[in-house]
Symmetry: C2
Subunit: 491 residues, 2 copies
């Protein structure tokens, strides 16, 4: 660990990249824009996935799997959808390679050209609604509540690990309903599931809101989102839930007969979160020493490191650790004992700090003699002695304190960096000085939105749902505004 890593203050962007490497979460592959998610990073993602999957099932959804490839013509069926997604995508044009007759290795076989090109799914609305067409005839077939865990590809020229990669992992829910009201309720329910997951498990406070028309999902009537604040004050869209109206039902001619036998178009929603959440997690809690993982998502919640000089000392420690580990495992605490004798304690301390393990326990012979261990909290960096007696309960309590503390800290940070501004001058000056969330009045027009974006690089992150504010006047044009919206620079 002798390498010099960037601090957040020195170079926030380099700090982020260094951290992913130090914590061994992921790396760039040799395939442009695509990442390798390494075991430790994947283990955190698996924890997120399993928790979300359970929430989806609790709310009545089932998983299914649809094809990776979408015929090019499907994308065109929903007019705004094709504009949003057809631009940068991976196109499969051939289905065979062959040996180069001139000895140049393998080449694409020109005789194996597809009649219609296939697109590697950037999102699955079109392929799924093409199936729903066959599945839905009557109101009895509704609702359809399906989720898919999958990989998707959106060609990106400028990529950043987890935040923007050409391939990413995600889940996409796709539901079909008999009424507009039910579809809107579903859209809002899933937004709540995401918000609760973000706060309760990721310890990341989020603002729920609506996207403006120009920031909407291509093909949606309304896009709801959760927006989180990163430590550099920038916003990160952490999840979206779309009310799709009847757009895809019309594009794919999906009608159902209602209880009175009348034919109606089906109402739709879609909603998703992705491996981008890993980037959000990193930038919400981590510090200059490395990653900080909230206990509820940590692959290792407690690491135990022995401190010894002789084999006799080690043996005594091993015996004590066996008991402590058993006690912790009994309480479902994920504990790891690192007794690797090739590495020094100091090296291990730095390693698990970089990996964000919430609690470190160090045990030496003197501790044992006193019936205690040394606890180090990753979040506050406090160190103190803890009694071995009842250590299981003490650690469980500590983990839950750490989880709470991380959320509180993030809430406080957001509070400190969220301001109301009333004039465009004030907005620009403040934003220049310090990135953050700015609550300001806006006249509701695309023109003003675009102007602000061009002049300040800040966008409207959302029209917030839970931040009530009375009407006012647009900070730019002075025209009437229904309420303040959230402006920020964003990832």
């Amino acid at each position: 660990m002798s390498q010099k890593y960037a601090t957040r203050a020195e170079d926030y962007s380099k700090w982020y990249n260094d951290l992913i490497s130090r914590a061994d979460l992921a790396e760039h592959s040799d395939v442009k824009g695509m990442m390798v998610i390494k075991p430790y990073g994947y283990a955190i993602w698996e924890n997120m996935r399993d928790i979300l999957d359970a929430k989806f099932k609790e709310t009545g959804h089932q998983n299914a799997y649809f094809p990776l490839f979408i015929p090019k013509s499907y994308l065109s069926k929903e007019a705004s959808h094709v504009d949003g997604f057809a631009k940068e995508c991976a196109v499969v044009t051939h289905y065979r390679l062959k040996n180069d007759p001139n000895g140049g290795g393998v080449i694409v076989d020109p005789d194996a050209k597809l009649e219609e090109e296939l697109i590697v799914r950037p999102t699955s609305e079109t392929i799924i609604w093409n199936s729903y067409k066959k599945w839905i005839q009557s109101y009895r077939d509704l609702p359809i509540l399906i989720n898919q865990w999958a990989n998707v590809v959106r060609w990106e020229m400028k990529t950043r690990l987890f935040l923007r990669t050409s391939e990413f992992l995600w889940q996409e829910g796709h539901t079909a309903h008999a009424t507009k009201e039910e579809a809107i309720r579903e859209t809002e329910q899933m937004l709540d599931v995401y918000a609760e997951f973000a706060e309760k498990y990721m310890a990341m406070p989020v603002i729920k809101g609506h996207k403006t028309e120009s920031e909407r999902f291509a093909g949606a009537d309304d896009t709801y989102c959760i927006e989180a604040m990163m430590q550099d004050g920038k916003a990160l869209q952490a999840g979206t839930s779309h009310f799709l109206g009847q757009n895809f039902a019309k594009a794919f001619e999906v009608k159902f007969s209602d209880a009175q036998g009348k034919q109606e178009y089906v109402w739709a929603t879609s909603w998703g979160v992705s491996t981008r959440l890993m980037g959000a997690l990193i930038m919400t809690h981590s510090d200059d020493e490395g990653l900080v993982v909230p206990p509820l998502l940590a692959p290792i919640q407690v690491v135990i490191v022995p401190i010894y000089r002789t084999d006799e000392e080690l043996q005594l420690i091993n015996e004590a650790v066996a008991k402590i580990s058993d006690e912790l495992k009994e309480l479902k605490v994920k504990v790891k004992y690192d007794s690797d004798d090739q590495k020094r304690p100091g090296w291990k301390f730095a390693e698990y700090e970089a990996k964000g393990v919430p609690v470190r326990i160090a045990i030496g012979p003197r501790d044992l003699a006193n019936g205690v261990v040394e606890i180090a909290r990753r979040d506050t960096k406090e160190k103190y002695a803890m009694n071995i007696e009842n250590i299981g309960d003490s650690v469980v309590k500590l983990l839950s304190e750490i989880q709470e503390n991380l959320l509180k800290k993030a809430q406080q940070f957001r509070l400190d960096n969220m301001h109301e501004v009333d004039t465009y001058e004030e907005f620009k000056t403040q934003l220049e000085k310090k990135s953050g969330f700015y609550l300001a009045h806006w006249d509701g027009t695309k023109e003003t939105e675009a102007r602000i974006k061009e002049e300040t690089k800040a966008t409207i992150r959302c029209i917030p749902i839970d931040i009530p504010s009375g009407p006012g006047k647009c900070m730019v044009t002075g025209a009437p505004s229904k309420g303040r919206v959230v402006f920020a620079k964003a990832y």
Copy 2:
């Protein structure tokens, strides 16, 4: 359920397709060769995946994720690998679509041609070993024990749901070791994990063995497999575990320095099972009434159907069912109560029979008065009364009996359809009469193997590990044979 479905005797192949549709497991998509895995089918696959994933972790493996796309040149690095996999694959040549200036919708943008074509992974050895090259320097970096759950694409002209599709879901383990012995132990360990999973959870007996050289994985020094017998007597390869020697290490120049500082090539394994297991599961147990799912893999283990005429009767039944359900859930039994009043009991019976739910409980007012319910076993079709008192324990016992019975039945079927044959004439006559596994001597040459395949369509499924037989003479050439091998027609 008035539609006429094919029986196994009438048309085995149509029976299989009908069953997948009746049980609502999957369907063909409009994308050639690619399937949609529907929620009920996916739920069974999820159960398989979760059990296997736990076994992989118990044996020290971690999950990770590698890119979907493989640069064309990587495939060529391992000479036999490219011959095996480069032939039929999806090739990405462009990364952008654009609006047709002539108004023909979206077209491939000719300016967005990739410098090097990308192949959608048919298997990930090459992309993974390209990463391992960066990860491995010293013996301290070994072993690497990684698994990936992913989708893969192998272009298929003739497809069958679950058995052969252009895209399928699978897991692929990729491990790296310091010694040949350790890599072979890993290969064998994972074969054992697969065999145990097949027998214990799928209730599907398998023969463990080695593939002949001509049936080996492209790039392997030795391919181990498990072979199962389907109800039509044909073999299905249910999983493979490959000892890759140093082939990929050499192709990607992956060396490590051993404890003495000497540079050595790394030893490798890979192993996988796929959604093909769904096909194996279907064809091992199901009958003319539909799917039969072993209890340990069933998304619904017990379905309860109320039989009533009046609302008062239904209310009494509802109360009894609430208690029974609680008792069953307490014991982790997956129970569903189908009280849908739009469907008649007879319709429900047929529906859950088609879906292979292991135990059906019907409850009417007279049953309640007698303190019993009516049990119907999916496997034996027996029906009998069961006391409501202690019903939880009785059902748990019954589920475990059903699980055992399915395995025994499948074992007996295999026993009845596996024969030793000594002459080629006998082999051909018997095989003509009845498909099955034929244990016969073979001289070990590719020529004889190819001749038998051409003349009878039977292939050597494996050189079995656990079916001891002394040496003998090849049934075709009379040349010496080390032991009997398993011949069969195969999926």
